[in-house]
C-alpha cells in the first residue's frame, strides 16, 4: 500500500514495546533497570491575603548522587497558574508540559482565563488513569475568577485544598514550620518569608532536598518568579582562575577534522 508508511508514524501516547524485554532482562539478571532521577524534594505553597506563594528547593537526585544542583521545580501551567513538582523528575516535567498545552488550547477556545480547579483536575485525572504509576506529587497554585487557589494533587489521584501545603521528602520539616508560623490573611512579605523558612528547613534537615530556594508569587493578573531567592549553597571551592593544563600532556593518537558547511543565507535542503 502506498500509505503503509503512515503506520510507522508515531501515534502519540506511551510505548510499551520494551516492557517484556526489560522484565526478562531483570529476571535473568543480565541488567537491572537504571536509576531514574527523583526530585527528592521539599516544596510548599501558602495562601495569603491576595494571592498564592509557591516555593521549592532546587536539588535533583539519582540515588544518593546529586544530579542537578540548580534545577527548576516550579513549572508554569498558565499565565495565572503555577505548579511545584515532587517525585519522579521526568514525570513532573512532561506531565506539567502536557497539561500546559491542554490549558492553552482551552484558553484559546474559550477566550477566558483558566481555572486552577481545572488544571488540578486534569493533573489528577491523568495520574489516576495510570494507577499511581506516574510519580507526580504536585502543588498547584494560582489566582482565577474565584480568587487565590491552592490545591495538592498526588500520584494516586487524590486532590486536596488547604491554605498551606507541603510535599516531597522534606515535607515533614517544612510542615513543622508551616504549622507553627502560618496565620490567616498574611501579607505578601510574611507569606514569602514563611515559604522560604519552610523550604530551608527541608534543605537543611532532609538529604533529598538541597541547594537554593525558588519562590513564585502569584497575585491577580501578575506573577513574580523569584529564582534562587536564597542561594547560600552556591559553589565556593573553585581555585581562583581555575586549573591550567600544560599542552601536550594529553597525547593525541589520531586526529580527524571535518569542515562544516557554514550557513550563508538560505540553507540548502540536504536530503541525503
Amino acid at each position: 500500500m502506498e500509505l503503509d508508511y503512515l503506520k510507522t508514524l508515531p501515534l502519540g501516547g506511551f510505548n510499551f514495546d520494551n516492557c517484556i524485554r526489560n522484565r526478562a532482562m531483570a529476571e535473568s539478571g543480565i541488567l537491572q533497570a537504571p536509576k531514574t532521577m527523583k526530585t527528592g524534594t521539599t516544596i510548599c505553597g501558602v495562601l495569603f491575603k491576595d494571592g498564592v506563594v509557591l516555593a521549592a528547593d532546587t536539588r535533583a537526585t539519582g540515588g544518593s548522587i546529586v544530579g542537578d544542583k540548580n534545577c527548576e521545580k516550579i513549572h508554569n501551567l498558565a499565565p495565572n497558574i503555577f505548579c511545584c513538582g515532587a517525585g519522579t523528575a521526568a514525570d513532573c516535567d512532561h506531565v506539567t508540559e502536557m497539561i500546559k498545552r491542554q490549558l492553552e488550547l482551552h484558553r484559546l477556545n474559550t477566550h477566558s482565563e483558566n481555572r486552577v480547579q481545572m488544571a488540578a483536575l486534569k493533573l489528577v485525572a491523568h495520574a489516576f488513569k495510570y494507577g499511581g504509576q506516574i510519580g507526580t506529587h504536585l502543588i498547584v497554585g494560582g489566582v482565577d475568577v474565584k480568587g487565590p487557589q491552592l490545591i495538592e494533587c498526588s500520584n494516586d489521584g487524590n486532590m486536596y485544598s488547604m491554605p498551606y501545603h507541603t510535599t516531597g521528602s522534606g515535607s515533614l520539616a517544612a510542615m513543622a514550620i508551616m504549622e507553627t508560623r502560618y496565620k490567616e490573611n498574611m501579607t505578601r512579605e510574611e507569606a514569602v518569608n514563611l515559604c522560604i523558612a519552610a523550604i530551608e528547613a527541608g534543605i537543611y534537615h532532609d538529604l533529598g532536598s538541597g541547594s537554593n530556594v525558588d519562590v513564585c508569587v502569584i497575585t491577580r493578573n501578575k506573577y513574580e518568579m523569584l529564582r534562587n531567592i536564597k542561594h547560600d549553597n552556591f559553589k565556593v571551592f573553585s581555585k581562583p582562575g581555575g586549573y591550567q593544563f600544560k599542552k601536550d600532556r594529553v597525547q593525541v593518537v589520531e586526529e580527524f577534522k571535518h569542515k562544516l558547511v557554514v550557513e550563508a543565507g538560505e540553507q540548502p535542503m540536504d536530503l541525503s
Binding site: 520494551n18 533497570a33 521526568a90 559553589k235
Partner: protein
C-alpha cells in the same frame, strides 16, 4: 562540556557484557546535524536503536534519525540543537514504562547572533528527564567519578583548545578509576565551522 562558541563530548570506546570486553572501538558519539552531537551511553542495543548513524542504512530503523528526517522534510531545514534536545526528552518519555536503558548526552551550538553561539549541553535519565545547566553534563558508568573532576576542572567560557585540555583531563582521570570504561578515548570538539575528532592515548586495560 561547553566553552565560548564551542562544545565538546569526550567518551571511551569500550563495549562490554559486564566485565568482558567485546568491542574496543565502539562508536557512541554521532553527528546529529552540523551544529549538534549526541553521545549515548548504556545498553549497546538501545544505543544503536536510539541514535542515528552516518551509515544510516545499517540502522535504518533508528529512532532519532527517522524523526530528524521527518522534521527536515516538513520544515526544509535542520533541527536546532535546543529543539533536538527536547525531542530526545519526549522520545525517551514515550517509553516511560518500558524504557531504553540509555543516558544520552547532547552537545550543540545554536546561533543566537552574528558570530555568537549559545551552547546546548544536556543529559537525560533513561525515562527522559532533561538535565541542563549550560556547563557540563556527565553520563554512564563513570558518571559519579566524572562529577568530581568536572566540578574542579571546568571553567566557563573556555576557548576550543583549552576546552579540549579540560575535557580530556577530566575524562582520563575518571577513566583511570572506572573498571568498566577504558580502551581508548575520543574527544569530539565542535565549533561553528569545524568538528575535530581526536583519539587520546589511554591505558589499555
Amino acid at each position: 562540556m561547553s566553552g565560548h562558541n564551542c562544545v565538546a563530548i569526550a567518551t571511551d570506546t569500550r563495549l562490554s557484557t559486564q566485565l568482558m570486553t567485546i568491542d574496543t572501538s565502539f562508536q557512541r558519539v554521532f553527528k546529529v546535524t552540523d551544529s549538534c552531537l549526541m553521545g549515548v551511553s548504556g545498553l549497546g542495543t538501545d544505543v544503536q536503536t536510539l541514535q542515528l548513524t552516518l551509515r544510516s542504512f545499517y540502522f535504518s530503523n533508528s529512532l532519532m534519525k527517522f524523526k530528524l528526517n521527518l522534521y527536515r522534510l516538513k520544515e526544509g531545514r535542520d533541527m536546532k540543537a535546543d529543539v533536538f534536545s527536547k525531542l530526545v526528552a519526549t522520545s525517551l518519555y514515550e517509553h516511560r514504562f518500558g524504557p531504553y536503558f540509555v543516558s544520552p548526552v547532547i552537545a550543540g551550538l545554536d546561533k543566537v547572533g552574528e558570530n555568537e553561539y549559545s551552547p546546548v549541553i544536556c543529559t537525560y535519565d533513561s525515562i527522559g528527564y532533561r538535565e541542563h545547566n549550560g556547563q557540563f553534563e556527565v553520563a554512564g558508568t563513570g558518571a559519579e567519578l566524572l562529577y568530581g573532576v568536572c566540578e574542579t576542572f571546568y571553567k566557563p567560557n573556555l576557548e576550543p583548545e583549552q576546552l579540549f585540555e579540560v575535557i580530556s583531563n577530566s575524562l582520563l582521570s575518571a577513566l583511570d578509576r572506572d573498571s568498566l570504561s577504558g580502551w581508548g578515548a575520543k574527544v569530539y570538539l565542535l565549533t561553528p565551522t569545524e568538528l575535530t575528532v581526536r583519539s587520546l592515548k589511554t591505558r589499555q586495560d
